[in-house]
Symmetry: C2
Subunit: 103 residues, 2 copies
DNA sequence: TGGTCGCGTCGGAAATCGTTGACATGTCGG
DNA sequence: CCGACATGTCAACGATTTCCGACGCGACCA
C-alpha cells in the first residue's frame, strides 16, 4: 500500500516543513539540514522516508545533490480527504453566512 | 500543535478506516472493533488517538457508547494540502473540469 | 441483589521510529 | 595524485507505538 507511505511521511512535522521548503524550489541536502537545528543524518533519514513515499526525487549535480518536490503522491491524500470535505464545508458555509465574528 | 495530532492520527491505516466507517454514521465501540480482526483494546487505543485529535466524539447511550465523526480538524489537512494542489493539478489539466486560477 | 454485558484502562512484550556517532562513496581543487 | 568537501549509510541506544490479556467500572435484567 503506497498510500500508507504518503500518510506516514506526512505524520512528521519536520517532513512537512521539508516539503514546504521544496515547494519553493530545489535545494541541496546540506541546505535543508541547515534549516533545522538537527543532525545531518537525521535529515537524511527524513529525506529517505520522503523518497520512499515518492514525494521527492534527487538529482546529483556535481558533488552535491539537489532535491526536488514530486507532489503527485499528495493527490492520494486529496482523494482520501475528498469524501470528508462536505462535513466541514457545511460548517464553513454557515459560519461565512453569519459574519466574521470572533469566537 | 494540534495540527500534529491530526496528521499523526491519519498515519495509521486502521484509524483511517475507522474514520471512513464513521463517515457513514455513528457506530458503537464493539461494532467498530468487530470490523477488524483485532483485539478490542487495540481498537479502543486507536479511538483514543482519534479522540485526542478531536476527530471523533463519543456519546454514552445506555451501557454502550456511540462514536460520531467530527470532521472539522480534517480541514487543517486540507489547508495544509491546498498550496500543493497546483503541482498535481497541472498534470491532470486534461481531466480538469474546474476553472483554473493562477497567482 | 446477583449476574451478565459493553467498555475503558492498566501492565508488559514486541515492533517500529528517530537520533547520534562513526564509517564508506564520490567529487572537486591543487 | 591527494586532501577537503558534500553526502549516503550502518550499528546501537532510547523513545514511542502497537498489540494483547487481565482487571475494574457502570448499565441492564431477572
Amino acid at each position: 500500500m503506497p498510500e500508507d507511505d504518503v500518510f506516514l511521511a506526512l505524520a512528521n512535522p519536520i517532513r512537512r516543513r521539508l516539503l514546504q521548503l521544496l515547494a519553493e524550489g530545489p535545494r541541496t541536502a546540506g541546505d535543508l539540514a541547515h534549516q533545522f537545528d538537527l543532525s545531518r543524518p537525521a535529515v537524511a533519514e527524513h529525506l529517505q522516508v520522503l523518497r520512499r513515499a515518492a514525494l521527492v526525487h534527487d538529482e546529483p549535480r556535481g558533488r552535491q545533490r539537489h532535491y526536488h518536490l514530486t507532489a503527485e503522491p499528495l493527490a492520494q491524500v486529496g482523494d482520501w480527504l475528498h469524501p470528508f470535505e462536505r462535513f466541514w464545508r457545511e460548517r464553513l458555509r454557515s459560519l461565512a453566512d453569519v459574519t466574521e465574528e470572533d469566537q
